[in-house]
């Protein structure tokens, strides 16, 4: 079945002062799907998103939203989209309602229409009660809800969210996920960036794994996991100095597809656990590597990320956050 294309990105490249943020990116987003751009900070997700919402002009290549070029027809594109920025782009002196009224005027809504829509949105994001308090009194979760209401005010065909749950507490996070599922159920196309694997796994119909400005893998979370082939056996060794010996002993054995050292042991991708497990245990015994823990699981999105980028998503996120 051919699905309608909502967004078409062709050979998109963007450089800033000689530094290439994204390089030769091509992908499509279909109408009605939730599309995720997954990657660590600085991978090029935000640059891609900001090009789609007309804030950046591509250095080369093109992007079109519902058939309209984001540079030549920027004004048309702006009418069709809603945007929820990463920073809490909130004016602390304005009330929640005033934010929405301001945007209503900027989208040229007639007053009656704006009033009606604002009331609906405040109800939707559960901000009716604090709607007339200045935003500086809002919690992080409330500001995020207001952000989302702002993004929905123009009744967009496509909603763009940049890191929708970054820095939120668990409860607010789940609430935001609920909204997104509801919007999807209403048929809205959603494009989001995230560096949370569980978020991508839970919400996205399809996702592009981006690292160093290029797409490393693209597909539904399930496809990506199956595409890896095989399951994962994770070993934790009592003596971590033995890791390299075991890695070299297992590498190349017929039942093992890929062997990789981790800080505490090994991750082994295997075709069939029945053949692989005895072989692993035999090698471990022979080399006198005592096992503290052994775990067997289907591939997770993190494994997909590691397979395509050579490092763990969580590691690279921590690098950024602590460094």
């Amino acid at each position: 079945m051919d699905r309608a294309i909502a967004i078409q990105v062709s050979h998109l490249t963007k450089t800033f002062d000689g530094h290439t943020a994204v390089s030769d990116l091509s992908f499509q987003v279909y109408s009605g799907e939730v599309f995720g751009l997954l990657g660590p900070n600085g991978a090029g997700k935000s640059t891609t998103l900001r090009t789609l919402i007309t804030l950046l002009t591509p250095t080369s290549g093109t992007a079109s939203v519902l058939g309209h070029d984001t540079v030549r027809e920027a004004d048309v594109v702006r009418q069709l989209i809603g945007y929820v920025p990463q920073e809490r782009a909130i004016d602390r002196f304005l009330t929640g309602r005033e934010h929405l009224e301001l945007l209503g005027a900027l989208y040229h809504l007639p007053k009656a229409e704006a009033t009606k829509r604002i009331a609906e949105l405040l109800k939707l994001v559960e901000l009716e009660e604090p709607a007339d308090r200045p935003a500086k009194t809002y919690s992080g979760g409330m500001k995020r809800k207001l952000d989302i209401a702002c993004g929905l005010l123009p009744d967009p065909k496509i909603l763009f969210l940049d890191e929708p749950t970054l820095g939120l507490d668990v409860q607010s996070r789940l609430r935001i996920w609920d909204y997104m599922r509801m919007l999807k159920a209403r048929g809205m196309t959603i494009v989001m960036t995230t560096n949370y694997l569980d978020e991508a796994d839970q919400l996205c119909d399809r996702l592009a794994i981006i690292d160093k400005g290029a797409i490393k893998a693209l597909g539904s979370p399930t496809e990506l996991k199956i595409g890896l082939g095989g399951d994962i056996v994770s070993l934790t060794l009592k003596d971590q100095t033995k890791i390299p010996i075991l890695v070299s002993a297992l590498t190349g054995q017929p039942a093992m597809r890929a062997v990789k050292a981790t800080p505490t042991g090994l991750d082994i991708r295997v075709d069939s656990p029945e053949k692989a497990l005895p072989a692993i245990l035999e090698s471990a015994n022979r080399l006198d590597c005592q096992l503290e823990f052994i775990e067997y699981h289907r591939p997770r999105l993190d494994d997909v990320f590691i397979a395509h980028t050579g490092r763990s998503m969580t590691e690279s996120v921590q690098d950024i956050q602590t460094g």
Partner: protein, 259 residues
Amino acid sequence: MAQYWQEIHALTMRWVRRLSREKFSMLFTLVQPMLFWLIFFGNLFQRAADVQVTQAPDYISFLTAGVVVMTVLNNGLAGGVDLLFDKENGFLERLMTTPIHRSSVILSRFIFVMTITSLQVLVILGVAFLFGVQPATGLLGIATILMIGMLFGVGLTAISMAMAFSVKSHGDFFSVLGFLSLPMIFLSSALVPLAGMPAWMGFLARFNPMTWAIDAVRPLILSGWTDALPHVGMVVVVMVIFDALCLYGSAKVFRRAMG
């Protein structure tokens, strides 16, 4: 056109709302120039200032023109601050994803800064009146003073907004602001007439557009139309050139920053 107006109105009202929510800051902004300069400085130098040099009945009446133009200067140079914060917290980006005319944001800021400045100038003239300063040219003279203030303010606000869009951090912005403001005041005829300055300072002050504005406002307050008109004519020419330069330069920056 109706859409354009709707945008400008909504954006201007946002600045007004913000100001009304920051009551303390509003009070401070309004009171500071008259308190510091007009009331303190004006009375402090009452006897120290030489009437032969100032050519005015007293120092406060001499200083009023300077304080009026200083207010225009400071408001204008600070006119971009709110856009700077909008840029830093992402609000500007949100505005830029809406289908507005890019110029609406800039225009709303001009309207707001000009309105606030005009109100402040009126308050200053009112306080000066309490100290016995009566503008010699009456209401029409006051209207002319407001016009000169706006002509000067447009260029300054444009510079300030362009700076807000170009600086890396708001620390830079405030450093430049602090560096510009006081020298501009000392190297002008605000506190001392050109004739009473050391030669080199008087020479530099001649290139300061602020001097031209003050030298037109001062006779409007002190002497009368015959004295003032040539200066008013001159300042209009100077300010048109000044504004043209500022707007030309800043328009380039705006276009690059907002696409």
